[in-house]
């Protein structure tokens, strides 16, 4: 056979296959007999053969397993590891940074001066079986070196040099150290040398180093002889005496570490008390001299510690409400307001049962960006993760990335700066489709683009198509705009033929943005939106025969939905309760149950093909305070969640609260308040005021000399205090039998505040010395926001049906004007020259209306029915609208701005 002859055969083969059987016979009859024979024998091979049907590697199970293809040989002294730099000296020898040339992975190598004993090597191999996010993994054991995970960060010991850790941080680290110990003890490995110097603070959490490497009494002697200091400060008494040590020795060491993190002082001295009695009891029991009197297992200890309020109580709170009103529970009305404000009434009525399996200790972090990663999707084989690096969980500026699981580096695929959403893999995994959003005039254009998974040029796949998923055989599921904003879920071929509506939102401003087809292709989960924002997710039949029904928590927004591979579960990201968490519901008639909870928010769902885990984007809210003046914009707050800024009347200083506990820990009945800080805007220096108080609300007197604030007493009751900002007198408490908070000065030196009476809250007023205490408004209210400096208007929230609008109530006549029917924050500057109203936009972000006012006319004319939209704001005379959460200063050209953002990264969460 030669190539020319083959070409004749090939040409006839293709021709013959393209025609009918009859024509084929005629065609073949005309051909050269030898060519004809060849072609006939080729045509006889028609039909699929398994032999070549699948790639070779799939036809060859086990082939490679026992072949001669063993791992790479360990060569010279350090085998496949290329030393890159020296990191330092450890107890047993030097530590290097190195690269595992086989995997291109950076590792740390600890060398020993001598060869390891057989026993040491055997034990080290047992340790290398430990695989946990809080344990520094031991990868390999050489004849005289150990190869470990390279952890970058500082040790707890180094961190403790600058004093104790904040309570929440200490408890977080403690829970992670315990998680590491639980894993190790379960595998029979005792650490034996747990100390702050052996615990690294990495970006992803703490990592415990050197598990089980200090093995026996001989080793201790060895260590001691090498260490000049010689004080085994963290060792259990029995270890110091050279007796056999078990898991309870680690518990003793853990107690030492926890005590030191909380107090900054070594446990051996016990000079300081731990502020929380319950926590103190837990630590005391860790530190019992007699092992039999300690906690007997780390699992037991972990349970106890997780019940400590600051670590465990997790609530919900709307960041906007919190930013302006870090107030407390005064009767039930307040909680109802908050929940209503968050659109989360249902939360009270939905049984919350976060499942054990979703406890955050089991989460595996997949990305670690300083900014955010959202919208995860998995390739069909589960090996590649795609996502958008960007902050928007609906859509937003960001780029498509791909990452090989579990440990590949994220690879950026797009570079166009265009707004994007919802990447999805093609059925074979070699392409990724995603939606771009570009604004033309007032209308968004949603287009579907596609890019090869391995990189290349993106190309437009379908215009006017959003949230596209491939079905199979060239069929697609996507959303398209029919007219205006009305966005319908349709199915069609990839050439847009055979288009058919699957779900049409009832409102002509309704938009079905994303969809997830069930594994049996009979049902679709839809995320949709109307003017008011996200609606609950919806289960609709793929044949479009009905509009289906809402699923997941009701009266709450749902941004993502997904199926378990066996179709028994539907997963949704819902903000029932004010924060987005993952919920699941039995297909098709189960009740929603919450599977993640806590301080974070989880949005986006990519369920692994085995159904045993899902990837989601986990976000933590942050709030920082900035000041904007002639010198530009600069950040004022550094640590904590900044809230409630107020300028001094001369505009030289800016006060704010720094909330130390994470935001979501603040609600329920355990709102702890924040630290009061003041920044000198000239020097940029910040200092903490009232160090003995956790302040829940405050107001600066209009002469700038005094502060009235609320704080909790030991019985958890709110009281008002007066303090001098010139430190002329110690803080004085206003005695009162009831809860009182939300104090505000008027311009005449009187204090207005909220006081509880029975089950209601009322607005009260008194003089700065506590005299003339009277009710200022006859009707009960929920919240008190501010009083005008002229003392004529009070801004209060009142219950109205299920809403809690903000009213300006006249303190003279008792009449009311609606400021906003929904949630807003209104206030005056202390000189009475400016009135401002901050409102959240439905799609995120805030607008602040700023209106100049005068003493004679402190309330501007507002649209009847109040401010509801940006257009309402723009209709106010002399209005200026600024982007963001703005507190105007007392002088023109200076203002404070709270930046709320969420830092999101992708995690894999195990499922039950």
């Amino acid at each position: 056979m030669n190539p020319e002859r083959f070409q004749q055969i090939e040409a006839l083969f293709h021709k013959a296959r393209a025609v009918t059987a009859e024509e084929r016979a005629a065609l073949l009859a005309e051909a050269d007999p030898e060519v004809r024979r060849e072609v006939e024998s080729l045509l006889a091979q028609a039909g699929s053969s398994e032999l070549l049907g699948r790639p070779a590697i799939q036809n060859a199970p086990q082939l490679l397993e026992d072949s001669t293809l063993t791992g790479l040989a360990v060569g010279a002294t350090l085998g496949p590891y290329r030393i890159e730099s020296r990191l330092g000296e450890g107890g047993m020898g030097e530590v290097f940074r190195a690269v595992d040339t086989r995997l291109g992975r950076a590792v740390a190598i600890k060398t020993a001066h001598d060869q390891f004993s057989a026993r040491f090597e055997r034990e080290a191999r047992a340790i290398s079986s430990l695989n946990h996010p809080n344990i520094c993994t031991l990868y390999d054991v050489g004849p005289n070196y150990l190869v470990m995970e390279l952890v970058e960060g500082e040790t707890v010991a180094a961190r403790l040099k600058s004093g104790p850790l904040p309570m929440s941080t200490a408890l977080l680290y403690a829970s992670q150290i315990l998680a590491a110990l639980v894993e190790a003890h379960e595998k029979g490995v005792i650490h034996r040398d747990l100390k702050p110097g052996n615990i690294m603070i990495a970006k992803s959490g703490v990592k415990v180093l050197d598990f089980g490497l200090a093995k026996s009494e001989e080793d201790i002697t060895l260590t001691a002889s090498h260490m000049v200091m010689g004080t085994p400060a963290y060792m259990a008494p029995e270890q110091r005496e050279g007796k056999p040590a078990d898991a309870r020795a680690d518990i003793y060491s853990f107690g030492c570490v926890l005590y030191e993190m909380l107090t900054g002082v070594r446990a051996a001295f016990r000079r300081r008390r731990i502020p929380l009695p319950k926590l103190e009891r837990i630590v005391d029991r860790c530190l019992a001299e007699d092992p039999a009197r300690r906690w007997q297992s780390v699992a037991e200890l972990e349970r106890e510690l997780s019940a400590v309020p600051a670590a465990a109580s997790r609530g919900k709170r709307n960041a906007i409400v919190l930013a302006r009103r870090p107030s407390v529970l005064l009767g039930a009305g307040f909680v109802v307001l908050l929940l209503l404000a968050a659109g989360a009434y249902e939360w009270f009525h939905t049984k919350q049962s976060p499942l054990q399996a979703a406890s955050q200790g089991d989460w595996v972090q997949l990305t670690d960006f300083a900014d955010s990663a959202v919208s995860p999707a998995l390739s069909p084989d589960g090996h590649i993760l795609t996502f958008i690096r960007g902050g928007g969980t609906f859509y937003g500026k960001g780029e498509i990335y791909a990452k090989l699981l579990p440990n590949g580096e994220p690879v950026q695929l797009t570079h166009d700066g265009v707004m994007k959403m919802s990447p999805q893999f093609s059925p074979g995994g070699s392409n990724i489709a995603y939606t771009t959003l570009e604004w033309s005039a007032a209308q968004g254009e949603w287009n579907t683009w596609v890019i090869p998974t391995l990189g290349g040029e993106p190309h437009l796949m379908l215009p006017n198509a959003e949230g596209l998923t491939w079905i199979d055989g060239g069929h697609l599921l996507f959303s398209e705009i029919k007219s205006g904003l009305h966005m319908t879920l349709v199915t069609a071929t990839d050439t847009r033929d055979q288009s058919r509506d699957v779900y049409v939102p009832p409102s002509d401003r309704g938009m079905a943005h994303r969809s997830a087809l069930s594994p049996d292709h009979k049902w679709v989960l839809v995320t949709e939106m109307d003017n008011g924002g996200w609606l609950p997710c919806r289960l609709v039949p793929f044949d479009g025969s009905t509009a289906g029904k809402p699923i997941g928590p009701q009266s709450a927004g749902c941004t993502y939905a997904a199926w378990s591979p066996d179709q028994r579960w539907m997963y949704v990201s819902s903000d029932a309760g004010g924060r987005f968490h993952i919920w699941r519901q039995r297909f098709q008639d189960g009740e929603p149950e919450q599977i993640t909870s806590g301080a974070t928010e989880e949005e986006g769902i990519a369920v692994a093909s085995d159904g045993r885990s899902l990837v989601t984007s986990v976000g933590l809210r942050q709030s920082t305070l900035w000041v904007r003046d002639g010198k530009g914009e600069r950040q004022v707050s550094s640590e904590g969640y900044a809230a409630y800024p107020q300028f001094s009347p001369d505009g030289e200083r800016l006060y704010y609260l720094a909330l130390r506990e994470s935001v979501s820990d603040q609600l329920n009945t355990t709102f702890l308040g924040g630290e009061l800080w003041v920044a000198d805007l000239q020097t940029g220096q910040s200092e903490r005021l009232l160090p003995n108080f956790l302040v829940t609300g405050y107001s600066i007197s209009h002469d700038g000399k005094e502060i009235v604030f609320s704080a909790k007493d030991e019985a958890n009751r709110q009281h008002l205090w007066l303090a001098s900002l010139a430190f002329r007198f110690p803080p004085r408490e206003f005695s009162s039998p009831a809860n009182e908070d939300q104090p505000h000065w008027d311009g005449q030196g009187r204090i207005y505040f909220r006081a509880a009476e029975g089950m209601s809250n009322y607005l009260y007023r008194m003089n700065a010395d506590g005299s003339n205490r009277v009710r200022a408004l006859p009707d009960p209210m929920l919240e008190f926001e501010d009083v005008s400096p002229d003392g004529r208007w009070a801004l209060v929230a009142r219950a109205l049906g299920q809403e809690a609008p903000i009213f300006a109530s006249s303190l003279d006549s008792g009449g009311s004007v609606t400021v906003c029917p929904g949630l807003c924050v209104a206030q005056w500057t202390s000189d009475g020259g400016t009135f401002s109203v901050m409102m959240a936009r439905p799609m995120g972000g805030e607008d602040t209306l700023i209106v100049p006012v005068s003493r004679s006319n402190s309330l501007p004319a507002l649209p009847s029915g109040g401010l509801q939209t940006r257009a309402d704001m723009a209709s106010v005379r002399e209005a200026k609208i600024l982007d963001g959460f703005i507190t105007p200063g007392p002088k023109a050209g200076i203002l404070a701005s709270l930046h709320h953002d969420v830092h999101r990264n992708l995690y894999s969460i195990p499922l039950q």
Partner: protein
């Protein structure tokens, strides 16, 4: 971005190769081959039950792991795939040879080409048989044989083959069809020819 030295090294080797430096190929292969071999083993070990596009995923994985894809253009990418497919073929054939040799204590040049047997109990034979038949086929239809190599050994998808060979999707399909028919005929009907006969 994609980490450090290995990736940069591979990427620059690939660039050197695509701009005509033939010696770069050898160094590239040295670097890629062990990686592929290691991963092939892992796939076989862990996932032989999963019915997914493993070979594709495998090559993708090697690719993502070894290259800084943001610095590689499509031509170099295509060349990488072509090279990876060649290597996968070598790896699989070597493994199959080793296996057969151990089992029989000798040569595997004469093989029984009953398809059922190939599939069910002697997978290494099907690989060796296809390899031999493909070698022969390369003499008469080099391009069509490349398509088979890329798809069968490399696990590449149709669109990737389009990119590698710079031919139309239709040509890829036609080449595959004729090559498959050819190879199946060779494998089914000429079992006694042995596999070394280069016709």
């Amino acid at each position: 971005m994609v980490a450090g030295a290995p990736s940069a090294e591979i990427t620059s080797l690939l660039k050197a190769w695509s701009s005509g430096d033939q010696s770069a190929l050898g160094r590239l292969a040295e670097r890629v081959y062990p990686e592929l071999r290691l991963m092939a083993r892992r796939y076989m070990k862990n996932e032989r039950d999963a019915d997914t596009l493993q070979a594709t995923a495998l090559v993708h994985e090697v690719y993502l792991r070894l290259l800084d894809v943001t610095r590689v253009d499509w031509r170099e990418r295509a060349q990488f795939f072509a090279m990876a497919a060649q290597m996968m073929r070598r790896i699989l054939v070597d493994a199959a040879r080793g296996r057969g040799a151990r089992k029989r204590g000798g040569s595997v040049l004469k093989v029984n080409l009953d398809e059922t047997a190939l599939l069910s109990c002697a997978p290494h034979r099907s690989i060796l048989a296809v390899d031999e038949a493909l070698t022969a086929f390369t003499q008469v239809a080099p391009r069509q044989a490349r398509v088979v190599e890329l798809r069968y050994f490399g696990g590449l998808t149709e669109e990737e083959i389009v990119a590698v060979l710079k031919i139309s999707p239709r040509t890829v399909r036609r080449d595959w069809d004729v090559a498959k028919a050819w190879l199946l005929r060779e494998l089914r009907h000429r079992p006694q020819d042995g596999a070394t006969d280069g016709r």
